[in-house]
């Protein structure tokens, strides 16, 4: 029997705003399947976003949802999580939202290793505003604000997350949708800050300006470009040029999680007070 997505989608809120050929719908469905598989209680899930195409996702799902200001999803989410540490807090963000305007919040959330799941929808462009280059736009690509080709250098989001202290880092793509379910599930189950970079396609503002003839071409590019990390690591350097690893790229258990540490302190103070009384 086909999976019943409607049970997690708010009545009357579709169609979504995403363009034909956009791959966000694939990720959207993956998230819903994972929530179902993990048997998360909808009342216990908050989904927080900033601004951009990906950030519209929370409006469609039947959780506690918070659509905030550009780049600020993580500090809003941090407030929710610290107040209610036993709840699931998921952040959906775009490449610009998470790593440009929200870059400082991103690295500090990773550093704190607070138990929040961050899904970064990387479509390599500012889509909602019409195709300006982002911190992940590949060098040389055309964007409305890089009309002569992107002269800027791009971020490697998983490396950034790992370097900043996230204890779970993964990369998936909209093409490899089945694998994506596993990555998102593992990210949610991981105790600590988990980042999943999800490679997406924006045919409207990125693809058509950069020699992708169709949305399908962009998916096929993902298929060719992203290689399972285990296989990637065995390849000689000349075969990895222009390719990237995907899957769980970094995972470390036993790193202190911020809420746990904080409430541990609260308990310690409580015991000290009782000891004195």
């Amino acid at each position: 029997m086909a999976f019943d997505y409607d049970q997690y989608i708010r009545g009357g809120k579709l169609p979504h705003i995403w363009c034909p050929g956009c791959t966000y719908g694939i990720v959207f469905k993956s998230i819903l399947r994972v929530v179902h598989t993990l048997k998360l209680n909808r009342d216990d899930v908050a989904m927080v976003s900033g601004i951009g195409c990906a950030s519209r996702l929370p409006g469609y799902v039947d959780f506690n949802t918070l659509h905030t200001a550009h780049g600020r999803a993580l500090p809003f989410a941090t407030g929710l999580k610290m107040a209610k540490p036993d709840k699931h807090v998921l952040v959906v963000s775009g490449d610009g939202d998470a790593t440009a305007i929200g870059g400082n919040h991103f690295i500090h959330a990773c550093r704190r290793n607070i138990d929040i799941t961050v899904l970064v929808f990387n479509n390599f462009i500012y889509g909602m505003t019409g195709g300006q280059y982002s911190p992940t736009t590949p060098s040389g690509h055309l964007a409305t604000t890089m009309p002569y080709g992107n002269i800027d250098t791009s971020f490697n989001i998983p490396e950034l997350a790992k370097g900043a202290g996230a204890s779970f880092v993964a990369r998936g793509t909209a093409y490899h949708a089945a694998g994506l379910d596993k990555l998102i599930a593992e990210a949610i189950q991981h105790k600590g800050l988990s980042v999943v970079e999800i490679i997406n396609a924006c045919p409207t503002t990125h693809g058509r300006r950069n020699k992708f003839k169709s949305p399908t071409d962009m998916l096929l590019w993902m298929k060719d470009t992203y290689i399972p990390a285990v296989a990637f690591d065995k390849l000689p350097p000349e075969k990895t040029a222009g390719k990237f690893p995907m899957g769980v790229l970094f995972k470390k258990e036993g790193v202190p999680e911020y809420c746990e540490t904080y409430y541990g302190l609260v308990e310690r103070l409580k015991k000290q007070k009782e000891g004195r009384a």
Binding site: G59, P75, G79
Partner: protein, 376 residues
């Protein structure tokens, strides 16, 4: 009988927050407001509350809104540049109607300005700082005891009207130590947000059919709803180019406008028979009170109007004052900001004279007395 303490203004603010039931603070170190954070960093973990030092001022404001949505009475404190940085998210809280309290211990500006000196030049930013039309409640205590009680009141107004409330005092009052009495629990009223009683399936987070302040559900309590900084319908979901936007923004303004009688608070000192009025708040209000006493000692009938609520502006009270006096003196630690409001409400009925100072020192009673004599 409460507890007697010797506290500085910033500490009294923290105590006021705790009295009001604040269990969540997020901030960022900045002079001259840092003691609010330091005090709560010690106290909040002791009562199972949350203290967070965030990566920047913007994040602190965001975390406060998150904390409030999860059901905590939430506070942040800042100064000068930090207050500028918080503006966008303050607008978010105003539009999404999330209660929270923002303390601005004012220093000199613009830019880094005079971090260790007092200022009152953020007062228009308190009113108009974030983009778009928005309701604002801003309180201006001048004494340590008053900072305590006005902080309690700030939380109460915030919870009652589902809107951020700003407390703006200055470096001098923030750092000054005075004797204060912290009342026993139950002496001062403590207001909590009204929660919905309907079943979750019927809950509309912005339903204004039963009043201008809709009941507020906390996250994770079974009412799964949507909060967005986009203009939204009664169900919380975005609307574009709709007449609803206009009527809803009017409602947000009305939450404050229609309740001015409750929100506006002020002190009148020797004003009943005064020929010359002084309009002053915060540390300038303290100097003005001394100036009134000096003037009276010389037989000059001066009196003080000292607002504890600066926004919404006490329009009616200033209009009435302008009908009774020859002139109003407005001392402020800026190059002239709140004087525009006094002038607007006086409608030319009396003379208006400003005293401005931005060099990091307060305006002295002697300065004010000299101006009172000119106006008389």
């Amino acid at each position: 009988m409460g507890t007697i303490k010797l506290l500085q203004g910033n500490e009294a603010c923290s105590e006021g927050a705790l009295y009001a039931g604040c269990t969540f603070f997020a901030g960022y170190p900045i002079t001259p407001s840092t003691e609010v954070a330091e005090y709560l960093a010690r106290r909040l973990p002791q009562i199972s509350g949350v203290f967070l030092q965030m990566e920047d001022e913007i994040a602190a404001m965001a975390a406060v809104i998150g904390g409030s949505l999860a059901g905590c009475k939430s506070l942040t404190a800042t100064s000068g540049p930090g207050f500028s940085l918080k503006q966008e998210n303050m607008g978010f809280a105003m539009l999404t109607e999330v209660p929270c309290v923002i303390v601005n211990v004012m220093r000199g500006g613009p830019s880094t300005g005079v971090p260790t000196g007092p200022g009152q030049s953020d007062i228009m930013q308190c009113r108009w700082g974030t983009h778009g039309d928005h309701p604002v409640i801003c309180l201006t205590p001048a004494y340590v005891q008053e900072i305590f009680s006005e902080t309690v009141r700030a939380f109460n107004l915030s919870e009652k009207y589902r809107t951020p409330v700003i407390i703006a005092f200055d470096e001098i009052v923030g750092h000054m130590r005075e004797r204060i009495e912290i009342p026993d629990k139950g002496v001062l009223p403590v207001v909590n947000r009204v929660k919905p009683t309907c079943p979750p399936s019927e809950y509309l987070p912005y339903d204004d059919s039963k009043g201008d302040v809709p009941p507020m559900a906390n996250f994770f309590e079974g009412y799964r709803y949507h909060v967005t900084g986009l203009n939204h319908g009664t169900d919380g979901f975005p609307v574009n180019a709709s007449p609803r936007i206009h009527t809803d923004e009017l409602r947000l303004m009305r939450k404050v406008e229609a309740n001015k009688a409750e929100i506006i608070k002020y002190e009148e000192y020797m004003l009943a028979d005064a020929d010359v009025g002084i309009f002053a708040y915060g540390v300038s209000g303290r100097s003005a009170k001394t100036a009134v006493e000096m003037a009276r000692a010389e037989g000059i009938k001066a009196g003080l109007f000292r607002p504890l609520t600066i926004w919404p502006f006490p329009e009616e009270q200033v209009a009435n004052l302008s009908k009774r006096v020859k002139g109003i003196v407005v001392p402020e630690l800026s190059l002239g900001q709140i004087i525009f409001e006094v002038d607007r409400c006086s409608k030319g009925r009396c003379g208006i004279e400003g005293i401005y100072r931005v060099d990091g020192d307060p305006i002295t009673p002697a300065q004010i007395l000299a101006k009172v004599k000119e106006v008389r």
